[in-house]
């Protein structure tokens, strides 16, 4: 068994947990139990969990995007934070003030995303910048995720360029799932490969097939390690396909069958299972047990959040300011 076998097994279990959670979220949405949207990362678990699993909560920074349930779990987000936010529990980190994937615990190195793509690159850069000013940066890494569509934003450009200028340990994972909502790559960018952007920004570049579980673990951990060792920003591009619509309201009918049935359309959980079994890192029975355990844990987290109080508009503190003096004055 390779020396990182425990880590590889852990990443796969996190992927299983994520898939089970997302299937449950989808059911709850379709049953009308979740308001707003549900945005899933089916098919992107391998890269997402690989990245999250290489980071240390409380030390590193991880700013996930909408398809990073697996990465969130791998970075140590509790299942309750997920279910409480989706189900609008007043006890969750967002307390009903924000929902679904817009959740986080910034003081634990886990910023809560806004919907505007690319904005997290500079925010994570700033967190690393501050750690450097405080003399606490050594050995730490910040990571964030984006999609193919997000690379077209000005914020992506400004953020990555700034991180490169400052030579900060920022890992940017681009999940190129071929479609930004319905827009295909050829209407999104004109370069041959998104990885070419690394050259332009003066940062290291890495490529991986996102459905290849073992390759994803290896590539992401290598990129994170390079950043940790002082190698500056790392751009990781993963080609894959999201195996669901943009959100659960969308059937993804715009994805041609040809792509669905290509190598891109493989399910990283199937590929990973095969890889684990064939390399004897896990047995079929073990993996089945992981699924069973995940179902129980997810159900528990859903049940708990469902029984909790919802936010009360009569008790809500309707102020967006932290400073008590300003809050007490009329707006």
């Amino acid at each position: 068994m390779p020396e990182n076998s425990e880590h590889v097994r852990l990443v796969y279990r996190q992927m299983v947990m994520s898939r089970v959670m997302e299937m449950k979220l989808s059911s709850l949405y379709k049953a009308g139990k979740i308001v707003g949207g549900v945005y899933l990362g089916k098919g992107q678990e391998a890269i997402s969990a690989s990245l999250g699993s290489c980071l240390q909560r409380g030390q590193d920074v991880f700013a996930p995007l909408i398809r990073d349930q697996a990465g969130r779990i791998a970075f140590g987000e509790s299942l309750l934070d997920t279910t409480r936010t989706y189900l609008g529990s007043a006890l969750g980190p967002m307390r009903g003030r924000d929902g679904n994937i817009h959740r986080g615990r910034p003081l634990e190195g886990n910023p809560a995303m806004i919907s505007h793509l690319g904005t997290s690159l500079s925010v994570v850069t700033g967190m690393l910048f501050a750690k450097r000013m405080k003399g606490e940066l050594a050995g730490k890494v910040g990571a964030t995720c984006i999609g193919d569509g997000g690379t077209s934003t000005g914020a992506f450009h400004e953020g990555l360029n700034t991180a490169a200028v400052e030579k900060l340990p920022l890992v940017v994972l681009v999940a190129n799932n071929q479609f930004a909502y319905s827009t295909p790559n050829d209407r999104q960018f004109a370069c041959d490969n998104l990885l070419d952007k690394a050259i332009g920004y003066g940062v290291a570049g890495h490529y991986v097939e996102g459905s290849d579980f073992l390759a994803s673990v290896e590539t992401l951990c290598h990129a994170v390690e390079q950043a940790r060792q002082g190698g500056g920003p790392q751009l990781v591009v993963a080609d894959l396909l999201r195996l669901n619509g943009h959100g659960e309201h969308d059937d993804g009918a715009y994805v041609p069958d040809q792509i669905r049935h290509s190598k891109l359309g493989r399910d990283c959980l199937d590929v990973g299972r095969e890889q684990l079994v064939s390399t004897q890192l896990a047995t079929e029975e073990e993996i089945d047990r992981w699924w069973e355990e995940a179902r129980e844990e997810v159900q528990q987290a859903v049940t708990t959040a469902q029984m909790e109080p919802k936010p009360d508009p009569y008790k809500e503190e309707w102020s967006a300011l932290a400073n008590q003096d300003y809050r007490n004055r009329p707006v």
Partner: protein, 325 residues
């Protein structure tokens, strides 16, 4: 013989930053050309030399400048971002209103960020180096917006802004940078959120802020020759807005002119009038009036620029009209 006033408005801004950097290691300055060069207007001159680990040049990336500052603020720092011109903050608008302004409400983690906005016109600056931004940012929950009009306020409001927990849009008027002088920074040290009566009067109230305070005082001087006593209220902070001081003044005078340099649609002057009408309709002896810039981009030529923003003449005209209504 007392020394001639020699401390300028921009000196106050520079010295407030110097004092903050010296006293608070969590404060840092970030922006385009703010380092060795000392900033486009020299508002950070000498600061990098004195505090090399707290003053940094940024790329021309307004979005990322604010994003970086937000990240640093999450980590407990108190960043001061200099927008080279307030106009360019439109590029950072998203990070300011969607990331910084929503952060505390959403997550419970405050963002003690100050954005210095060199705003307002000077002759020849044209459409993209002259804009006022206080109205647009005041619209968003989660932001504090200050508009100092005096040397002492430039100093004390900046110090309070940077140490405050919330994101503060600090609007510094470029026209005042070198023209406005004082002997020292000592003022009444009113906090953020408190307006000041700059000039007492009894026939009408002008509620204004930033450089327009001085234009209003000039207009009031002229009208005093005609026997009118005009009260000038300097809001100092447009959000939170000190409605109490405004209302008390209108209660004394019965007439209101809300005066600002921003574009006329909506904004601070409309907000002032709306509040007075809503809560103090019975105090009014005449319909409240507004005077703003014209509803065009800020023009380049000094002749056009001077007529685009309110002037002592146009303020006097408006006040005479108000006084006879």
């Amino acid at each position: 013989m007392p020394a001639a006033p020699s401390i300028t408005y921009i000196d106050a801004i520079r010295d407030a930053q110097r004092d903050l950097l010296a006293e608070h290691p969590e404060v840092f300055v970030y922006g385009q050309d703010v380092g060795k060069f000392g900033g486009a207007f020299k508002a950070t001159q000498g600061l990098q030399e004195a505090f090399p680990s707290q003053v940094y040049d940024s790329p021309i990336s307004e979005d990322a400048m604010i994003g970086l500052a937000i990240g640093a603020a999450i980590e407990g720092m108190h960043p001061i971002v200099e927008m080279q011109f307030a106009d360019f903050s439109s590029v950072a608008f998203n990070q300011i209103v969607n990331q910084a302004a929503t952060h505390y409400y959403r997550t419970g983690v405050p963002i003690p960020l100050t954005v210095r906005m060199p705003c307002g016109g000077t002759p020849g600056s044209g459409p993209f180096h002259s804009q006022m931004v206080e109205s647009i940012y005041s619209h968003y929950p989660g932001l504090v917006v200050v508009t100092p009009a005096t040397v002492a306020d430039a100093y004390c409001l900046l110090k309070e802004a940077v140490l405050a927990k919330d994101p503060v849009i600090y609007c510094e008027h470029k026209f005042l940078y070198r023209w406005l002088k004082a002997e020292n920074y000592r003022g009444d040290d009113l906090p953020i959120g408190k307006a000041r009566i700059t000039r007492p009067g009894k026939h009408a109230t002008v509620v204004t802020y930033s450089a327009m305070v001085h234009e209003a005082v000039r207009a009031a001087d002229r009208l005093s020759e005609e026997g009118w006593e005009i009260e000038v209220v300097d809001l100092r902070t447009v959000k939170p807005l000190d409605t109490d001081t405004v209302m008390a003044s209108v209660a004394r005078t019965g007439r209101l002119l809300a005066l600002g340099e921003a574009f006329p649609w909506g904004g601070v002057t409309a907000e002032v009038v709306a509040r007075v009408v809503q809560d103090g309709f019975h105090l009014l002896d005449a319909p409240p009036q507004r005077l703003n810039s014209r509803d065009t981009p800020v023009p380049y030529h000094p002749n056009l620029w001077a007529a685009h923003r309110p002037t002592p003449e146009s303020i006097c005209d408006k006040l005479r009209q108000l006084l006879t209504l």
